[in-house]
């Protein structure tokens, strides 16, 4: 057996699944499980991850894994955790990994319930900012001015007009012990956060930015680059919160948002005309607000 085959045997999320080339989500799941180790059971609501990882008869999951429905990931996870606890198997921890659609939108009530009850689950949202499994429709996590198939650019509209829902803040408002954001582009940071999350008991939340080459529209070997640019622009702030307080942020040397937006088809319309330039300026304001709010800039000191 050669070295890479041996390494594959160690993977808890094994190769051979059916994600698109360069899928940020698939890569992030691999990172997550390396950080948790194998003493976990994973719950995944319907979405790309479920679809590409579970064609009947095959499975890359080398941990117990259950998919049930789209809108009940948190509740199924609570049930698994309760059962393990009741059986005295609390050493096996429960991790839910769901897309932004299931987390921000259709499963939001269940998520809120799980956090209000403070069930012992690490809930990870692998956020690609739209409903990819069904073709890239708008979600509550879709960033402003991104074009999606249900909120497309048209003569009258520049894509999504609203803000991305601030889910980390909403979860933190439930009193969660640990809330953090990460990016697939920063593996060590991501894994450190997973490990930190596992040190707590009760409901915890991690939101991972997972660029999707197929729907965002960029070459499949640019996933990490796109992820890095998002973070560097300030549009994807990386931070940790404990009991509602921001405890750490990942510092950036801010770049202008156009450097992040330009490489993606979903933002292409922003570079077509004058009007687009105004919208880019608005996005720059949003990035600047993030940078100020979290003290992201390494130049400005901050937290």
């Amino acid at each position: 057996m050669n070295a890479s085959a041996q390494e594959n045997r160690m993977e808890l999320f094994a190769p051979g699944h059916r994600a698109c080339h360069g899928c940020g989500m698939a890569l992030s799941v691999r990172h997550i499980l390396k950080a948790t180790g194998n003493q976990v059971a994973v719950v995944t609501p319907t979405g790309c991850l479920e679809t590409f990882s579970s064609p009947y008869g095959y499975s890359p999951w080398r941990v117990p894994w259950i998919h049930h429905l789209f809108e009940n990931g948190p509740s199924v996870a609570s049930g698994v955790a309760a059962a393990l606890d009741a059986q005295g198997r609390g050493d096996v921890r429960v991790v839910a990994i769901g897309g932004d659609g299931s987390t921000f939108d259709i499963g939001f009530a269940a998520l809120s319930g799980m956090f209000e009850r403070d069930d012992d689950v690490l809930y990870i949202c692998v956020d690609n900012g739209a409903y990819m499994n069904t073709g890239g429709q708008r979600s509550g996590a879709t960033p402003t001015y991104a074009s999606t198939t249900t909120d497309p650019v048209g003569k009258l509209r520049p894509g999504k007009l609203q803000h991305k829902k601030d889910l980390p803040a909403i979860v933190a408002a439930h009193g969660a012990a640990y809330v953090a954001t990460a990016s697939v582009a920063y593996r060590k940071d991501l894994q450190k956060k997973v490990k930190r999350a596992m040190e707590f008991h009760g409901a915890r939340y991690l939101q991972i930015d997972t660029p999707c080459p197929s729907v965002w529209g960029f070459p499949s070997d640019h996933t990490l680059e796109v992820g890095r640019l998002g973070v560097a622009s300030g549009l994807v702030p990386l931070f940790e919160m404990e009991y509602g307080n921001v405890t750490k942020v990942r510092k950036i040397k801010p770049i202008t948002v156009d450097k992040y937006l330009r490489g993606q088809k979903r933002f292409r319309h922003l570079f077509a005309d004058e009007q687009g330039a105004e919208l880019v300026a608005k996005l720059q304001q949003m990035a600047d607000a993030n940078i100020a709010k979290y003290g992201l800039s390494s130049q400005s000191g901050g937290q």
Binding site: N38, Q39, V40, A41, V43, E50, T51, S54, P55, Y56, G57, S59, W61, R62, V63, P64, W65, I66, H67, H68, L69, E71, N72, P74, S75, V76, A77, S78, G79, V80, A81, A82, A83, L84, D85, A86, Q87, V92, A109, A110, S112, G113, E116, R117, D119
Partner: protein
């Protein structure tokens, strides 16, 4: 024999559930289910019941918690009613499809609109095709017994499906009845702990809830149907086994009451069958050859047993406390479908009766028998169901 007490139906159910030692309970309140889940919560709060009790934000989550807990190998329980049961629908389909057993009390209540808390069976009937096993109780004592049996049926390795014990809201849940309780040792002997073949184990990790193309879904459904067939055989055995402890034998999937020489046979399920037994007795006293079939198990549907009991009758009058709008009641449809084409069978006439709490008493039953006989005399059978007791001043 265990204790005998006069208790509310909800209390009887809660006692049955406690005796079955579920490890996980999750519920969301809705009338008239509330007394059951409140009683269980009190038992947990007082340390009389060791279940993990998850007070979720919706029925959708209650059922979902059970799906997860069942997959992880715990015995689990919930109860709901009406709108709450409908909200669970998607979860129930998926749980049956994934062979995740648990027990639900379906406290029967009508469905909006108009919003009401009155009883009929539209709610549980709407879950007919989910893959649930559905049992219907006539009395609180029967509901108590059915709950004990339900866990054993659900967890049978050849079944592995959610089981719903349906009981009429208010009429059963909120009335006081003499209940014979079974001793805990007997319950434990009858119902050993749940030991699923597949646990969520890190040493032997498995994948549940896979994605299917056109290659396997049909085989999954077929396997479910086969399990339903097996359940038809197994449920009477489990109930017989329980009867050896309780001394109470209700018959198997159906109870045939005075059907042997009957010309007219009423078919119904739930608490109304108690009333109908009285009605049959009264009509018998008056010399009329009337019988009753009480359906105890609606899914799987005991067509063969029903056929054996009704084949000599002239007409079968089905009382449906539900309606499949644009067609007929669900029980009537099933019976007609299953009896159709069998030689010399009786005419089946469907009656929509008792919707939204509308009273059915022995006089109403007698009227139904008259109308059924009239229909049997008519040159062709009726195309439409017969609605019982409509207020002419409203529908005019």
């Amino acid at each position: 024999m265990g204790a005998v007490k006069v208790v509310e139906g909800s209390q009887a159910v809660a006692e049955a559930v406690r005796a079955c030692r579920p490890q996980v309970i999750s519920a969301y309140p809705i009338s008239p289910q509330t007394h059951i889940v409140e009683t269980l919560a009190q038992m947990v709060a007082d340390g009389e019941l060791g279940s993990r009790y998850l007070r979720v934000e919706s029925e959708f989550s209650a059922a979902s918690v059970l799906a997860g807990a069942s997959c992880a190998g715990s015995r689990c329980y919930t109860a709901s009613s009406s709108q709450g049961l409908l909200l669970m629908t998607e979860v129930l389909y998926a749980s049956a499809g994934m062979r995740l057993p648990f027990v639900i009390t379906g406290v029967n209540r009508s469905i909006s609109a108009p919003i009401t808390i009155q009883v009929d069976q539209q709610d549980t009937i709407s879950l007919r095709d989910t893959g649930l096993i559905q049992l219907y109780a006539e009395s609180s004592q029967e509901a108590y017994d059915m709950h004990l049996a339900a866990f054993k049926i659900a967890e049978d390795p050849g079944i592995m499906l959610p089981v719903m014990v349906c009981m009429d809201g208010w009429i059963l849940t909120h009335s006081y009845e003499r209940i014979d309780f079974l001793d805990q040792q007997d319950v434990d002997r009858f119902l050993p702990p749940f030991k699923p073949a597949n646990l969520m184990e890190v040493e032997d990790p498995k994948t549940w809830g896979s994605y299917s193309e056109e290659n396997v879904l049909m085989e999954f459904r077929y396997a479910l149907q086969k399990s339903m067939d097996y359940a038809q055989e197994r449920i009477p055995q489990v109930m017989g086994d329980l009867a050896s402890y309780t001394g109470r034998d209700y018959g198997g999937l159906i109870e045939a009451y005075a059907t042997d020489d009957a010309e007219v046979i009423l078919v119904a399920m739930g608490s109304v069958t108690g009333t109908l037994k009285d009605a049959v007795d009264q009509m018998r006293e008056a010399g009329r050859k009337v019988g009753l079939i009480k359906i105890r198990c609606f899914r799987p549907f005991p067509a063969r047993q029903i056929w054996e009991a009704v084949r000599g009758a002239k007409v079968v009058a089905v009382l449906d406390a539900n309606v499949s709008l644009g067609s007929e009641g669900a029980l009537g449809l099933d019976l007609k479908a299953k009896l159709c084409g069998r030689p010399d069978g009786p005419l089946v006439v469907d009656f929509i009766a008792g919707l939204g709490g509308r009273e059915i008493n022995p006089l109403v039953a007698e009227d139904i028998v008259d109308q059924a006989l009239e229909a049997a005399q008519a040159p062709t059978p009726p195309w439409a169901p017969i609605w019982v007791g409509l207020d002419a001043s409203i529908v005019a």
